[in-house]
């Protein structure tokens, strides 16, 4: 059962600011998603091999051969701010 407080914490982890209205709206929605997983849990999977991944594949590799990188100009072109070739971000601590 997800409470409004849990939702606030999840929002914080994702750096989402949630208004009181958002919290009212999303708390029951998330709980109904969780309830649905409860339904899935009821299925009998006794004789079924567990699957750990959505793709029925394994062992896809790349050889250790360098390819051209982006230019510094291209690399910085999406950054709102940059300085001396670095991307500039607000301080985090």
């Amino acid at each position: 059962m997800i409470t409004k407080k849990d939702l606030e914490h999840i929002g914080w982890l994702s750096r989402l600011e949630l208004s009181e209205e958002d919290r009212e709206k999303y708390t029951p929605k998330l709980n109904s998603v969780l309830d649905y997983f409860g339904e899935l849990d009821k299925a009998d999977t006794g004789g079924v091999e567990p699957s750990y991944h959505v793709m029925p594949m394994s062992n896809v590799f790349r050889e250790d051969v360098p390819i051209a990188s982006l230019s510094q100009e291209e690399a910085l072109s999406n950054a709102p701010k940059n300085q001396d070739g670095f991307i500039k971000a607000p301080r985090m601590m």
Binding site: V60, R62, L70
Partner: protein
């Protein structure tokens, strides 16, 4: 038997950057960025741009298996990647690709020199992950307004080696780090001298408290200092009746203290889930062939040195504790007497290098051979040989030139003999003391001979000549 009175338990998490690979772990960007401008070795994958897809580097997987095997781990049948979610500017995607409950290898150990002899440290797991970018702060970290980010490092292949909490003192932690680095250098999968090649987080607890995790340790010496501080801090908390809480602390290298980093993020907040863009790996079948190709590791080489060259185990251990020194020794011992070579490399050269904070690259093996040859042919004294080694390290030149310049050629026997006669004549007290049974009195006579010959006499020969004349 080591008592461990405070019940110290230390576990280490070591991040090893596979900087000898040509490309990053999930993209083809070159790893050769150390002398290049920031953000010049990046692509849509390592910048986490939408729509880009990671593909794993086969050589990185091979290196991970090599490390696992060298640490006596089991290479797992099934291994896969996860997303570890958190927001920090060093992660352009908002998550780090790492491993979780299916690491590539686990359940190994290494042997270190513990407080009470050989000590086994368990390896919980060695798993693969990607390196985050590098953050630069203008001025100090708490005063700068901005964070500057260089993503050249982002996506470099890392192996995180997690130990069991088996170390019982900061000294053991340091020995573990030294041993681990040595093994990794033997494997030739990373260059420990490059910036950021090996980074350490330490977990430490003492009896009656919970564990603290210490981050931001950048050297083996730093690890030892941080842990020493932390033991004192935790003991003080307990002595004052306080509680040692589980927390993450930051090591301030300049002040040699650890500081609490209050953080809202807890382990379960990383919301790990399987990385959908990378398929699982089933590579345990590679292990036998890779094992076959593993180079000789430090412990095996140490045993071989003792057997093959007939040197003392202590010397073999010292020689093999750094791969480059072991190679240097073998090249010298191929030509010169292996036992004499071991003595001069271990007991003299290594000490002189350490004293000057130099590595073995600072000394040419040809010069070592010349010094040994001069000694063996009795052209110089042992003191003279030490002098040559020091001069080579401080000023350069060649052993032959130094011998000439400093007049280190051994003086003739009759000069020593004359000096010994003079010394006996001039020091009647020492002579009578010696004759009265005070063997130490001989030392002052030897000293006098050395002075008269300006150090060019062989101290051992001077002693014998003196004994002959006194007896």
């Amino acid at each position: 038997m080591y008592e461990n009175p405070d019940g110290v338990m230390i576990g280490l998490e070591v991040h090893v950057q596979l900087n000898k690979l040509k490309t990053k772990v999930f993209c083809g960007c070159s790893t050769d960025y150390h002398n290049d401008p920031p953000n010049s070795h990046v692509c849509p994958v390592c910048l986490g741009l939408p729509g880009s897809l990671p593909v794993i580097n086969r050589k990185a997987v091979e290196a991970a298996i090599k490390i696992g095997l060298a640490l006596n781990c089991k290479v797992e049948e099934h291994t896969q990647f996860y997303r570890k979610n958190y927001y920090y500017p060093d992660l352009p995607k908002g998550f780090q690709i790492t491993q979780y409950d299916f690491p590539i290898s686990s359940g190994g150990y290494i042997m270190i020199e513990g407080e009470d002899g050989e000590h086994r440290v368990g390896i919980t797991r060695a798993h693969m992950e990607e390196d985050p970018g590098r953050l630069v702060h203008e001025g100090t970290i708490d005063k700068s307004k901005y964070t500057l980010i260089d993503y050249n490092r982002s996506g470099m292949a890392l192996i995180e080696i997690v130990s069991d909490p088996d170390m019982r003192s900061p000294k053991e932690a340091r020995r573990y780090l030294d041993k681990l680095r040595n093994i990794l250098e033997y494997l030739d999968i990373f260059d420990g001298d490059l910036e950021g090649a090996l980074r350490v987080d330490a977990n430490i607890s003492i009896m009656g408290g919970q564990r603290a995790e210490i981050k931001n340790i950048s050297s083996h010496k730093g690890a030892e200092r941080a842990l020493l501080f932390e033991i004192v801090r935790q003991k003080n908390v307990l002595r004052r009746g306080g509680v040692v809480v589980q927390e993450t602390r930051h090591f301030d290298e300049a002040r040699e203290i650890t500081l609490s980093m209050r953080s809202k993020e807890e382990a379960h907040d990383y919301r790990y889930f399987p990385e959908p863009d990378l398929v699982p790996l089933k590579i345990s079948g590679w292990a036998p062939a890779i094992k076959e190709m593993l180079p000789e590791l430090p412990d095996a080489r140490r045993m071989r040195f003792v057997e093959q060259y007939g040197i003392m185990d202590d010397h073999a251990k010292a020689l093999t504790s750094e791969r480059k020194v072991a190679i240097f020794y073998e090249e010298v011992a191929k030509i010169a007497d292996p036992k004499i070579s071991a003595v001069w490399i271990c007991d003299v050269l290594k000490g002189e290098l350490n004293y000057r904070d130099l590595t073995i690259e600072a000394f040419r093996k040809e010069d070592m051979l010349s010094v040994i040859e001069l000694l063996m042919s009795k052209k110089i004294t042992e003191d003279g040989a030490v002098d040559i080694i020091r001069t080579l390290l401080d000023k350069g030149g060649s052993p032959e030139e130094i011998v000439k310049e400093k007049g280190l050629l051994k003086v003739e026997g009759d000069i020593v003999s004359t000096a010994a006669e003079e010394a006996i004549k001039e020091n009647p007290v020492a002579v009578s003391d010696f004759k009265a049974g005070k063997e130490k009195a001989l030392n002052s006579l030897v000293g006098s001979v050395m002075k008269k010959t300006k150090g060019r006499a062989d101290a051992r020969a001077a002693r014998e000549i003196l004994l002959g004349k006194l007896g």
